[in-house]
């Protein structure tokens, strides 16, 4: 049976197994119909021209792993940012792991989507925010149809969350190929601040497909820093659909670090509904082998006097392939917009590929919009210079790549995340450099 049919057929059983109100049920049914109509994306769609899920979808995925799988903390400690205190919302094969988690209801909610969807005390927030900005496209609809588990984060007015929150999805998939559909909702009220680290990590050699949807709402003066660490196993694929709505004077940054996995597709969408908003989108991609990382970004400038800053760096070795599609829409009303987009790529091997496409649609006439896109090789003169000073070629190359990626690391606000990323890059490049950049 085709995966799509299998999914559609499982829906009734899934819906019977969970406890939700009629409104949510209606949203889900509609999403399922949508997915039934649209199916999985194919390369015929302009948005999916350079990323094919075909090979991945041939796996016989189990749709909802039912088994309660447990893992020892010691075995997965390395996937956490563990040198600082954090809240943790952890899932194993799509199911909540209370053992690995550290949630709170103390002055804010850092807990589970499943309880938010079913308990009456969250009803108002769910009604106001759930599935309000998520697109009705194929994969987001698929997620919505099965939306049940994930992180639910609600930060009330004026609350500055004292430590970062980690959202981690582990897949054990010991016997089977696993598909999971995590669904996160993050609501940050006026003047509130929060820092979030998200990671999807397979613990198996079996195929994994994660189709995650995250909705983030930043109210007036809210501040959200979101870090996505994508360094998964070679057989794990990820489609990350993130939707962010910002209100006046809010600032939201999303850093995406893509160092591994099979196929990684990031759909990152910002909607600016207010003035003096700042949206920051940054990414470092360092891949090799046959890995594929696709960044599709959208910044929708709807109102005047807002800014957006995009900076994506990519380093592609061996036969790896990359895609950068950065769309910026500036509506007619959005005068005095300042939109900046930078995408720089280094092809380390002549077998690697990058498809880069800046896409600017500007309808206002008094705006500053800049974009720069480069594709190049490592500078051989710089390499010779370093070798001349005694730095071996391999270390020199790594140093150049560090330097290249450094403009993105600079804006990481959690020092432990920064040093973790620096270490991941060093491991990735198989070098030991005696300092942190």
């Amino acid at each position: 049976m085709e995966l799509k049919d299998k999914i559609v057929e499982s829906y009734v059983a899934f819906e019977n197994g969970i406890n939700v109100n009629t409104a949510i049920h209606d949203i889900r049914s509609e999403a399922l119909q949508n997915f039934e109509k649209l199916g999985f994306p194919t390369k015929k769609l302009e948005e999916w021209k350079y990323t094919s899920l075909n090979a991945v979808l041939k796996n016989d995925f189990s749709i909802f792993p039912n088994k309660e799988n447990s893992i020892e903390f010691a075995d997965v400690k390395k996937y956490f940012i563990h040198d600082i205190d954090t809240y943790k919302v952890v899932f194993i094969d799509g199911k909540y792991s209370s053992f690995l988690s550290d949630t709170t209801h103390d002055g804010k909610d850092v807990c589970l989507m499943s309880s938010a969807l079913s308990k009456s005390k969250y009803k108002a927030v769910i009604e106001n925010y759930f599935n309000k900005i998520a697109k009705q496209d194929n994969l987001t609809s698929l997620n919505t149809a099965f939306a049940n588990e994930g992180a639910y984060i609600y930060i009330p007015k004026n609350v500055e969350v004292e430590k970062p929150i980690q959202i981690i999805n582990f897949t054990t998939g010991n016997d089977v190929a696993t598909m999971i559909q995590p669904r996160n909702l993050i609501v940050v009220e006026e003047n509130a601040h929060v820092q979030i680290i998200e990671r999807h990590q397979s613990l198996t050699e079996n195929a994994v497909l994660t189709n995650v949807v995250t909705e983030i709402y930043a109210a007036r003066n809210a501040n959200v820093d979101f870090y996505k660490i994508q360094n998964d196993k070679d057989n794990a694929s990820l489609v990350d659909n993130t939707y962010i709505e910002q209100k006046t004077n809010s600032e939201v940054s999303v850093h995406t670090f893509s160092f591994g996995g099979n196929i990684t597709r990031n759909n990152l969408n910002f909607y600016q509904r207010g003035e003096h908003i700042n949206s920051i989108l940054k990414g470092i991609t360092i891949i090799e082998g046959k890995q594929h990382v696709d960044h599709h970004t959208l910044v929708h400038h709807i109102e005047p006097n807002c800014e957006s800053h995009q900076d994506y760096k990519g380093i592609f070795d061996e036969r790896s392939t990359g895609v950068f599609n950065g769309k910026v829409i500036v509506e007619k009303e959005a005068q005095k917009t300042n939109a900046y987009q930078q995408n720089n790529n280094v092809l380390v091997s002549d077998k690697s590929t990058i498809n880069a496409k800046p896409q600017l649609e500007i309808f206002a006439d008094d705006v500053k919009c800049s974009h720069g896109c480069t594709i190049g090789q490592l500078d051989s003169d710089a390499l010779f210079y370093m070798q001349q000073r005694g730095i071996p070629k391999k270390e020199g190359k790594a140093l150049l790549m560090y330097a290249f990626a450094n403009t993105v690391l600079e804006s990481v606000k959690i020092p432990e995340v920064k040093s973790r990323i620096t270490k991941l890059i060093a491991t990735k490049l198989a070098v030991n450099i005696g300092f942190d950049l």
């Binding site: 010779f384 370093m386 001349q388 730095i391 071996p392 300092f435 950049l437």
Partner: protein, 249 residues
């Protein structure tokens, strides 16, 4: 220390060095002068090991050992230093981090431990004072946005830190005002000893007023065509290069 015999080299099948001989002993300062396109920078790059040049004939020996097959970093570990005519900008790597990495990689190649941080700092302080380099300058990205003079001073600072056996200064005077020239020359002179040697590649005589050479060579069309003492540089300054070309005819 350095012995080059009958060196022929080409780039993209274009022959640049055509039988060059030079011998540099410890404690000596040699100047290599010559018109544009004579092959001066090529010679510097070939000694340092830039791989786009092909050595078609001849030998390059350092302390009796053929270095022509060694990687640039191996030559550096053996004590070869080239002060670049155009130092490369490396955004994202500070001067301090760069020189630390360079020193520790060199030590690693020699089987030594990293230099203790305290010693490193002390050395950085001493050498930056010698070159009159501001502390703030050291935390800036390597050569990024540096003026011509700052770049050259930074080259000599790195030389002071690495303490090479053989230093080749490629057009270190170009782009320097008179004060910077004096600082750089003073730095080089302070580093000179009976155990190391310096090759100064220059177009003009002015640097040689500060760094006085034991030998002056004229490089023309890929060969050393004339060798003399410091007075030859003055003569070249006064008369230009044409008379040498005519002498050759």
């Amino acid at each position: 220390m350095l012995k080059i015999n009958n060196l022929h080299a080409s780039i993209d099948d274009k022959s640049i060095l055509k039988g060059l001989n030079i011998e540099v002993k410890a404690g000596e300062v040699h100047a290599i002068m010559g018109p544009n396109g004579a092959g001066k920078s090529t010679l510097a790059n070939i000694i340092a090991g830039k791989d786009e040049y092909e050595i078609t004939e001849g030998i390059i020996e350092l302390d009796g050992e053929d270095i022509s097959e060694l990687a640039p970093e191996e030559r550096a570990h053996n004590g070869v230093f080239l002060s670049f005519q155009y130092p490369v900008e490396i955004p994202g790597v500070s001067v301090t981090n760069f020189i630390k990495t360079a020193i520790n990689e060199t030590r690693k190649a020699k089987g030594l431990e990293d230099m203790p941080a305290k010693d490193m700092l002390k050395m950085i302080r001493e050498k930056s004072e010698l070159l009159e380099i501001d502390r703030k300058f050291l935390s800036r990205s390597l050569n990024e946005g540096f003026s011509g003079g700052e770049k050259k001073r930074n080259e000599i600072f790195q030389m002071a830190m690495l303490q090479p056996k053989l230093a080749i200064l490629d057009e270190t005077d170009s782009g320097l005002d008179i004060d910077a020239l004096r600082i750089v020359a003073n730095g080089v002179n302070k580093l000179k000893s009976k155990d190391n040697a310096v090759i100064v590649i220059t177009h003009y005589q002015r640097l040689l007023e500060y760094i006085v050479p034991d030998f002056v060579h004229v490089l023309h069309d890929g060969k050393i065509v004339k060798t003399g003492d410091a007075s030859l540089a003055l003569e070249l300054e006064a008369k230009g290069y044409d008379w040498i070309k005519q002498e050759l005819v």
